[in-house]
Every structure is written in C-alpha cells, then in structure tokens.
Symmetry: C2
Subunit: 319 residues, 2 copies
C-alpha cells in the first residue's frame, strides 16, 4: 500500500484546500466545508494522479485541480443523494440535511457543484469539461434509476448493472481518463483508461453489495444486512430470487411481512444455498480480470506501479 | 415593442429546443421539459441577443447557446428555489416538487444545471465560463441571504439591496456581458454592459416589490400583498418601518397577531403615509436613470435599438 499512501500524502494539501470554504454568508459555506472535511478514502483523486503518472512524472496544476474536482463532485452527489434517500448518517456523522436543514443542503450542494465547475474552468480544457458533463449526466440518470428501482417489484440484472455503471463506474472512468489526458495520453489510451475505470467500478460495487450482506461490521464500517432489510434488488438479490422455488419466495415474502423476523439470517442462508453469493463473487472477479487485462494492455512510458496497486487493492477487497 | 418581439421570434426555435428533453429515464427529464415549457418572458436570453447586436449583426451559434444557457440556468434556480421556499405554484402551474416529489425536483434541477454547463462547453469560451461561475456563486449566496433574512427581525437596506443584487441583478449583468463579449466587445465595454445589467436588475426588483403591494392582480398576474403577509423585509417595508412611530409599529405587530385582520390595507396605508412608497419608486427611478446613462455611454458600431427598447420597457414597467 506504499504507492497509494504516497499519492494520498501528495493529495493532502489539495484536499485540505477544498475543505476550506471562507465565503459569506457562512450558512451556505459551512456545510460544504463539513462534508469535504468528513474524509473518505479519497480514492477518486488518487486515481486521477495514478493515471497521470502512467504518462508523466511531474504534476501540473491542472491534474491537481481535476483531482480536487472529482472529490468535490463525489461529495456533491453524496450531499444531494442523502437528501433524496433520507439518509441520516454519512461516514458516521449526521448528514447535512439533518445537521442543518433540507433547504440548506440543497443550496450548499448547488454551490458545491458550481465550485466543481470553477475548478474545471481553472483547468481550462474544453475536452475534459465535455467528458465531465457527459459523466455527470449519466450519474444523474443512474440516481433516478436507483430511486425508481426501489418502487419496482422486479429489476433485471441488466437494468441493475446498467444502473451501477451509471451511478458508480462512470466517475471512476472519468477520473482515470482525465488524469491520463492531462498526462499526455492519446485519445485511444485515454479510452482504455476510461474502460478500466468502468470495470473497476462494476467490480467495486458488486463487492460492496456482497459485503453489505456478508461482510463484518468492524471491517465494513456499517451494520450488515441493510440492503436485505430494504429488499434492494441487487445482482446478489436477483441471483437468489430467480433460483428460488415458488414456495421459498413465498416464505421470504411472509418473513418481510412479519416484524422481528430473522429476515437477514434467512435471506443470507438462501443467498448461499442458491449459489447467488458465489455468482456475485464470480461476476466481481470477472470484472477484476477485465481490469487486470486492460491494465496490462496499456502501453505507457511512465510509472504503472501506482495504478497497479490501486487496481490490486480494490480487486482484493474481500473484507 | 417591435424590437423585443423580433428578438423573441428569433429565440423561439432555441427555446423550443431546450424544452425538448428526449433522454432516459423519462422521470428525470420530464420535469426539465415541464419547467422550460412553462414559458416566462424569456427576457434574459433576449438581453443576450440585444447586447450581441450592439457589436455584431449576424448571430453566431455561440450567442444562441449562451441565450439558451441563461434561460436554463434561470429555470434551474426557480426549480430549486421553489423547493427551498415551499412554493406550490409557479407561472400558474404546480411547481415540480408538488407535481412530482422533492427527490425528483432536486435531481432534475441538478441535471438541468449540468445541461447549462453542456451549453457553456459547446460555447467553448473559458472566459465566459469563469464569468458564469462567478455569477452563479453570487446567486447561491443571494438565495442563502434571502432565506436567512426571513428569520431576522430586522434587515438593513444595505443588506437588502446587496441580496437583490446577488439574487436578481447578477444574472442580468452576465446576460448582457456575455452577449457583448461574443459580439466582439472589448473588456471595458463588456464591463459597462455588466454594470447596465446590474442597474436594470436593481430597478426591476424594486419595482417588483412595489407591484407586489401596489400593482393590480390582473396586470401583475398574482395576488397582491404576498410580501406584506409574509412580512418580507424589502426596501419598501424598511422605509415604512423606520419612519413609523413606536406606537404605530406596535399597532402593526398586533395586526399580525390577529387573524383575519385587514393587514394588507393597513400596511399599504402606512407605506403611502410615511412616504415609503415614493421612496421605493424614487430609488427604482434612480437605477433607471443610471441604466439610461450607461446605455448612452456605450460606444458601439452596431444596432443599439434592441437593447434600448428592453431598457425602456423594463424601466417604464408601472403595472
């Protein structure tokens, strides 16, 4: 993990800078400072730098600005998504709309989004601006799909994978692509990096879904079984549901209707018995292999060790 | 009004284009199509074109894109402000968060904001992008000030004028400035146009406040007295309040505490008696004169008649 640590150390001043929000009125800036100060793994800005290092040894101001922009944009989506999803907790702390109020959370998010574009204007690269916009549009579409899926009795695996592609993977794709372009990648190379980000993102989200049911609270940092309680139609859920006998499906339905039932334990047992757990791990592994293949194909002059470490770290995330 | 009509006719296809939102999922695009289709006076895009015509006879694709961007951005602010202000009605129709729901309104607004930046990326001018960002930041600050003022017992005239500068005037300033720059204005000329937009905006908002109490429902298009009922601390209100005797202030306070009181009639009478109504009209007229002076100073090669008509129309708005 030495390479990632190195990137995170290099990012530290840039991350500290964005969480300083000295403007007035304070009421609209304090929530931005708060959410950017909550931390997080800073994996997206690290990916920007790692992709840059494939092509260029010395950082330009632009690559740092893009690293800041992706972290700010990620936090903007969390801020607004938490309102939409009525989530009270984020990274172990109160969400903005709970700590302040909804109007403040909407407006601070809007301002944070404008600050993202201020960073992109400083970068001054219209191609990157257009790639960012296309990504941001997809991410909004993904959030709407995610919300609509909650109201649907059945979501196909294709629909689900398309949604996580939009909601999780495209921002990772953009992070790698923009870092590569600023480092001097060709259009073809930058597209390979985008594709790499997509497969990393899909694998990451499938593992996230797996860990939500089968992880350990201490390692995952949240209560286990949230998706099951919400009856979230993930790939993991679908693979189980589609393999169940009609009588078993009815049994589960009745458990959901019954308060204080052992729903998490029962559903997890079915997820194992039906092979849905293994199917999910296999699909995550499929995208991991794809990532490693893409990584091997990228022909660069620079240091590949940073990005390799990130890919290996994310792909071996079994806890 | 022939010149403005001409501009609005020229804008028609561009305005129709932005209200077509063919993307998927439909649930996130329909509200954007809805709010952009509600109409409105399209005064901001007309100002972009009018400022352009001061310097250039033939439209470029860019000037139309900026005209679209300012109208889209204006509607984005309405969409999100209506959630924050809990407004049920906009342009005689249900607001987005009522017709759909809050989560949809937040997300559609976010997507509309991204579409604004897609237009600005098409324009491809980093200077205009930076001016837009600075304006959008001020507008967010203004909205927060406006919300905070609702909770304050007293707001000074300086604070109020600063707030309407941010919330109303800067977007008009940007519209004229960006149109001028695209037409070929010098930096100094574009700054004059920005200043013109500011004085137009301040006068416009002061007249809007005046008409909210003293207009006619049929002409203004909304119920008269809304600001009074909400006890909004406008310049008009402040000028009245600061001139009242202590006993008169107490009398008004008691009317607010009493249901079904003739509060609107009583406050309006005081607004007239104290001279607050005239003071507001005088300040609006002061900014009008400033607008006309600035207009006269602008040294251009092109057709000034479009912008002149808009300035005269907005400044003579007494109904």
């Amino acid at each position: 993990m030495n390479k990632l640590k190195e990137l995170l150390a290099e990012l530290k001043p840039a991350m500290a800078e964005i969480s300083q929000q000295p403007g007035y009125p304070r009421a609209v800036y304090e929530p931005i400072s708060y959410i950017l100060g909550l931390g997080g793994k800073r994996i997206r800005p690290a990916m920007v730098l790692a992709a840059y290092k494939l092509f260029n040894e010395h950082y330009s101001p632009q690559v740092i600005q893009v690293a800041q922009a992706v972290e700010m944009f990620h936090n903007f989506t969390l801020l607004h998504d938490d309102i939409m999803d009525r989530s009270p907790i984020r990274r172990g702390k109160q969400t903005v709309h709970i700590k302040w109020d909804e109007a403040t959370a909407i407006l601070s998010g809007d301002l944070l989004q404008i600050e993202v574009y201020e960073k992109l204007a400083e970068v001054g690269d219209i191609t990157i601006l257009k790639l960012f916009n296309a990504m941001a549009r997809e991410l909004c579409e993904g959030q709407m799909n995610d919300m609509q899926f909650e109201q649907m009795a059945h979501v196909s695996n294709d629909e689900y994978l398309h949604m996580i592609h939009q909601k999780t993977a495209v921002l990772l794709g953009f992070s790698l692509q923009a870092g590569a372009l600023l480092g001097g990648a060709s259009t073809a190379q930058s597209q390979q990096l985008y594709d790499l980000g997509i497969s990393i993102g899909l694998s990451f989200q499938l593992m996230d879904d797996y860990l939500d049911s089968f992880g350990e609270t201490a390692k995952v940092g949240k209560r286990i079984g949230g998706d099951i309680l919400e009856k979230k139609k993930t790939y993991l859920w679908n693979e189980m549901w589609n393999r169940l006998e009609n009588s078993q499906q009815k049994e589960i339905e009745s458990l959901y209707a019954e308060p204080d039932s052992e729903i998490i334990t029962s559903v997890k047992r079915y997820m194992v018995q039906t092979g849905a757990k293994d199917a999910t791990l296999n699909l995550a592994e499929h995208y991991n292999l794809k990532s490693l293949e893409t990584l091997a194909q990228i022909n660069t002059v620079g240091d590949q060790s940073y990005l390799s470490e990130i890919v290996y770290m994310l792909s071996s995330r079994d806890n």
